[in-house]
């Protein structure tokens, strides 16, 4: 059996599906061409092209406008359109210029990712995954042989059916339907196998990466777990829940669990994501028995309705002005709520959203368990996502996944620092690590 060489490319012979590969390589080649231009040409010339091009374009539009419509109207129209197009050019060229220059600097100045040790540690798993990748690639090719033609036939069928309609599609429509049919056929061939690979990758690699960072592991979770930890009470209403990634274990001597959750709700025939973020649960070293809910401010009307309905949870009025403005707090025990929400806790909780990658958090403390829900900011990617089967199973993918776990652990530590008692445990654990090293 050949040994695992971390320096060797692991995607030998494993290619993406045909159509996806063609589209991907087209984009990649275009990107390389533009990148080569920006890297190859002298910076001064690029600056001249940037600003000179913008000014030239504005002037060209002005002249053309005056030539088309002589008089003040032409001048005004030319100035407005020229300025608009010139600025558009400046912004577009500028973003490409800055982006490619930054990428070039990162490539030359950055040190190679220290993945060798990690890859060697996971060698057996990566070897197994590479075998699976090869197998999946073969199976997808085999399935594509029948499924892409079926997709093409489907496209032709739709085109023929549409010929009876009032406005039948022409040759261009046929090409478009054939393309859609081929892509659908390819997806049909690849989807289930890709999912199997991703699941296998997560189940085998992530527990080891998590274990490498402490007494932690990764496991697949379910929607029920979100309800079990009581997070339902602070999350917005939803129809569908996607929650399959969970990091669980003990950190700084405290039991923790972190779940990535996406909640969706159908409103006016459109499915919207109502929450996309992390749920971080920590067992506090306290003796609390009540339930305290910290939800973002719902407004006066919602507060009045909640008070009117009554229930076992009563509103808690706190002294921290900023916290009071942002959050509504309800609890079954007024004293316990304040024992948890000390002035320091409130100060740090308010600062949490400002300092992290996440938006305004919400939290629920049920007994000693504190669960904080942190919605991601727009544009933040999904965490714990493995590479596609045609990409290397090791290398950057491993580093990125480990970085994801580190990010959520840092975040869990930030949550621990909210509470005085948990903070003490964290400080003890960090002191022990320092002494040991």
């Amino acid at each position: 059996m050949p040994g695992f060489d971390p320096r060797a490319p692991h995607n030998d012979g494993v290619a993406p599906p045909l159509i996806q590969g063609l589209v991907g390589s087209g984009i990649e080649r275009f990107s390389m061409l533009v990148g080569g231009f920006f890297r190859g040409v002298n910076e001064r010339i690029l600056l001249v092209l940037w600003f000179g091009g913008g000014a030239g374009l504005a002037l060209l539009v002005l002249v053309a406008s005056i030539a088309q419509t002589p008089g003040w109207e032409g001048v005004a129209r030319g100035l407005f359109a020229g300025l608009f197009l010139g600025l558009l050019y400046l912004a577009g060229f500028g973003s490409l210029f800055v982006g490619y220059r930054r990428a070039a600097r990162a490539e030359t100045g950055g040190t190679p990712a220290p993945t060798s040790a990690l890859e060697l540690q996971l060698a057996a798993t990566l070897r197994e995954l590479d075998a699976l990748r090869g197998d999946i690639s073969k199976q997808i090719k085999q399935r594509s042989i029948t499924r892409i033609p079926i997709g093409l036939l489907g496209g032709i069928g739709v085109w023929l059916l549409r010929q009876r309609a009032d406005d039948p599609p022409g040759l261009g429509g046929l090409v478009l339907l054939l393309l859609i049919g081929a892509i659908a056929g390819e997806r049909w061939a690849a989807h289930a196998l890709e999912r199997r690979y991703r699941r296998r990758y997560k189940d085998t690699v992530l527990p080891q990466l998590a274990g490498d960072l402490g007494q932690l592991t990764y496991r697949e979770t379910s929607a029920e777990r979100v309800a079990d930890i009581g997070a339902d009470r602070m999350l917005p209403e939803y129809d569908r829940i996607d929650a399959d990634d969970q990091i669980i274990g003990t950190h700084a001597g405290l039991p923790i669990e972190i779940i990535e959750v996406k909640l969706k709700r159908r409103v006016n025939k459109k499915t919207r994501v109502v929450f996309d973020g992390l749920l971080v649960g920590i067992e506090l070293p306290r003796r609390l028995s009540g339930t305290t809910l910290i939800a973002t401010d719902q407004g006066m009307w919602e507060r009045f309705k909640a008070e009117w309905r009554g229930g076992e949870m009563a509103s808690v009025q706190l002294e921290h002005h900023e916290f009071e403005q942002r959050y509504d707090v309800h609890s079954t025990d007024q004293v316990e709520a304040r024992a948890l929400l000390t002035p320091a806790f409130m100060e740090r909780f308010v600062a949490l959203a400002a300092k992290s990658h996440f938006a305004l958090p919400g939290a629920i403390a049920d007994g000693n368990r504190l669960v904080v829900a942190m919605p991601k900011r727009p544009g933040m990617r999904d965490l714990f996502e493995p590479p596609a089967y045609w990409q290397p199973s090791g290398g950057r993918a491993l580093t990125a996944l480990q970085a994801d776990i580190r990010t959520v652990l840092d975040f869990a530590e930030t949550i621990m620092r909210l509470d005085f008692w948990a903070q003490g445990r964290l400080a003890d654990a960090q002191r022990s690590v320092r002494q040991a090293t």
């Binding site: 306290r286 003796r287 009025q317 706190l318 002294e319 007024q334 004293v335 316990e336 709520a337 304040r338 024992a339 000390t342 005085f420 008692w421």
Partner: protein, 190 residues
């Protein structure tokens, strides 16, 4: 009397009733908060004999402090459940003094290595810290309730309705000791 006057009288009556109900609710909440403080103080009183028993074994030189704590604890214990608002201030003063002396004891315990490493003492200190946190939380709840009642009573038509709502004298705020408000002299500790 025209319909407008009837309407105005009706609005005034409903408004006054709602204000009266609000004062009653806030007054009840003050007593609820007072009971909350008592629960936490009771826990403190239950723990103190255990702490003193452990401390006596090691802190021979602090007999005066231990005796004072015993005396304060006995006095404070008798005041638990006090609902006479004239005497509540006195009860708070005793508890504040007891808290100060216990704090001093915990600080002095740091000078006794045997006591510092004693398992039951470590557990007692942990429990004591937790109880102190809860007492502080109960005080905050009480002070928030007193503040809310004071606002309701001081704002018109509160002064007219407070007698009807059973608020004869205002409950005192739970204030920290003067010593705690003084600036810290780092020289004493270095």
């Amino acid at each position: 009397m025209s319909l407008v006057w009837w309407a105005v009288a009706g609005i005034v009556a409903v408004g006054s009733y709602l204000w009266y109900a609000s004062i009653v609710r806030r007054r009840t909440r003050v007593f609820e908060a007072l009971a909350g403080i008592d629960v936490q103080l009771q826990q403190r009183h239950d723990l103190i004999p255990n702490v003193l028993t452990i401390a006596k074994r090691f802190m021979e030189h602090e007999r005066g402090l231990l005796a004072e704590i015993t005396e304060l604890r006995a006095r404070a214990h008798q005041q638990v459940g006090e609902r006479d608002l004239n005497k509540v201030g006195e009860k708070f003063a005793t508890e504040t003094r007891l808290g100060e002396q216990m704090g001093r004891l915990m600080m002095l315990a740091e000078n006794y290595p045997q006591l510092r490493s004693d398992g039951p003492m470590i557990e007692a200190q942990r429990t004591y810290s937790e109880i102190e946190t809860n007492i502080a939380a109960a005080r905050r709840f009480y002070n928030a309730s007193v503040g809310s009642l004071t606002n309701a009573v001081a704002t018109f038509p509160g002064p007219l309705l407070k007698g009807l709502a059973g608020v004869r004298e205002m409950p005192p705020f739970f204030q920290t000791a003067d010593a705690a408000r003084k600036p810290v002299d780092a020289g004493q500790y270095l």
